[in-house]
């Protein structure tokens, strides 16, 4: 019982603080500490959840010359679904899915390797290495891919010198391939991080049992790792998928004329002062995200990801 009372006291923060001010006004102290704890939640509700929810409302507003006015019209959606925009959106979904797959194939084995073979104390240190790319601005990393991949860039130079190709490959940059390379290079660390967290759900002894029973690596992956680590894998993949759809810089800098994703459609609509269209694209993105999250949660119970931090 005593313990419980103590816990309650701690929970209230400064409520029974011994400073004379709070002794004189105990309720004030209680409200201040309540307010302090509620502040970040209110902030995120007001400036994050509310604007995103309102995109659905703004998307049915009517466009005026420079702004928009309250109305109910589906013109922006019609504009989106009856033009090349929807094709671009679907194509960018395809590219994004390919990036997710490639990032998974390259990155996930690293997470498995680190969890399984690297000594416990050193595991976090290896994973920290993958934070290093984030020290460099995304702009610089994406721009840097241009001199890297272009006609007289490093990749072509090296391939020419070692004689693998006779003339420079021009089909890398300013094509969907360029965008996919950019997405993989930008988001790969996230699959390593989420994979690493996900592998927490797979105890090390499970691998020993698998070895004892003579299961091969593919069997272990499909029958043991996948079911246990599915929520984390799904979260990492969703992150890459959604960002591949939404980060306008990637197709803008690395893609050709046809490479347009949802983020680019939205920012172009804003430059053209077509705010309802930008909001419709945002609303479609949000609906896609929420739909995928719902499916993921039904299939894998995403709350399992939180086990390591709680």
């Amino acid at each position: 019982m005593t313990k419980q009372i103590n816990t309650l006291d701690t929970r209230r923060g400064g409520s029974n603080s011994t400073s004379p001010f709070f002794v004189a006004y105990p309720r004030l102290g209680f409200f201040i500490s309540k307010g302090v704890f509620a502040f970040p939640v209110i902030f995120m509700g007001l400036f994050f959840a509310l604007p995103l929810a309102l995109t659905f409302v703004w998307s049915v507003f009517e466009r005026t010359m420079f702004w928009m006015k309250p109305a109910f019209t589906l013109f922006a959606y019609e504009n989106f679904f009856t033009s090349a925009r929807v094709d671009n959106f679907l194509a960018s979904m395809g590219h994004s899915s390919i990036s997710v797959l490639i990032a998974f194939i390259i990155g996930f084995p690293i997470a498995v390797f680190v969890r399984r073979r690297v000594p416990q104390v050193a595991q976090h240190r290896v994973i920290l290495l993958f934070i290093l790319p984030f020290a460099v601005s995304e702009i610089i990393r994406i721009f840097a891919l241009r001199p890297f991949l272009q006609r007289n860039g490093l990749v072509n130079d090296v391939l020419l010198k070692i004689g693998v190709i006779n003339e420079p490959i021009t089909a890398i940059l300013f094509t969907p391939t360029g965008v996919i390379i950019g997405e993989v290079m930008s988001f790969l660390p996230f699959i390593v991080f989420s994979g690493f967290l996900a592998m927490e759900a797979v105890p090390k002894y499970v691998f020993e049992i698998c070895d004892d029973l003579g299961a091969g690596p593919i069997r272990v992956f499909i029958d043991v790792i996948m079911p246990l680590a599915a929520p984390g894998i799904f979260a990492g993949s969703l992150f890459i998928f959604v960002n591949g759809l939404g980060v306008a810089l990637l197709p803008n800098i690395l893609g050709g004329p046809g490479a347009v994703n949802a983020g680019l459609i939205a920012t172009q609509a804003i430059s053209a002062l077509d705010f309802p269209l930008a909001m419709a694209v945002s609303a479609i993105m949000m609906a896609t995200l929420l739909g995928l999250l719902y499916i993921g949660h039904r299939l894998f119970n995403l709350t399992r990801i939180l086990t390591p931090i709680s």
């Binding site: 103590n6 006291d9 994050f48 309102l54 690293i110 460099v136 660390p189 959604v242 694209v281």
Partner: protein, 296 residues
Amino acid sequence: MNDDYSSKWGYRLKWLYTLLVVTTLMLPVFFVMYISFNENGFGARDYDFTFEWYGLIFSDLLMMDAITSTLILSAITVIFVVPMGLITAKLYKITQYPLAVVSLMLSPLFVPSDILGAALLVFFKNLNGAFTLFGEWVGASWFDTWFDLGYFSAIVGLIIYTLPYVFVVILITMGRYRQEQTEAARSCGATAWQAFWHVEFPQIRTGVFSSCAFTLILCFNEYTRTSLLKGGFDTFTTVLVSQMLNEGMSEQSYAMSSLVSYIAIAIIGSVIIFTLVRSERLERIARAKAEPLMAS
């Protein structure tokens, strides 16, 4: 059999692969650094080593101003976001609805920058319109500029962007802290603040400081939200992008990008090294304390 120690070479190959992937991710950046020392710029046949382009950076007043204003923007964001992350992590520990808190705090990770930027832009423009109308109704012009696009809106965008990272980093460091220690301090007569500042904070200090460094760098490097919500070309990334798009990649842009990358890598690198050295030291102390007990 593929048991843990069956193949030394397999183990080494996997290490090699991991390091190769990290290097590949950094390779374009290293290439930019390499170009920045070439007197003849990118694509030239000859490579002449020079520091010339680095010297020119500091003569570019536009860029210098941009860097100053970006640093101010990042510093203000850090001042707000780190306490917010700390409070949220504490809230997560004591609330009855941890799932709701964690979903709200982590969901910005899944909303792409352009989509959030666009939504916030329209939100601020609407708020501004509403407050101007309200001001007209009341007969005061005081409300007109509250939600103008500028530092305030950009900082709000940056806080939403960085809060999930700060929250996670602090929450992970808090994982090692046991709530009973606070209870012990409170029953010894400490106030809630004293219990936090003298007992809990020293134990989570590493997480707080690393999240400060990480936030500073994320804000400094951020482009989309800043450019949508700030307006004008006067931050580091917006100036860099406008230069790159208008004049192409000049030698100076390469030097500028490299310089910023060195600084950022140095900061993140030293944070990583500091964290590692510290955790090593703590482990050694813990082992030293544990051993006599183990022996008895």
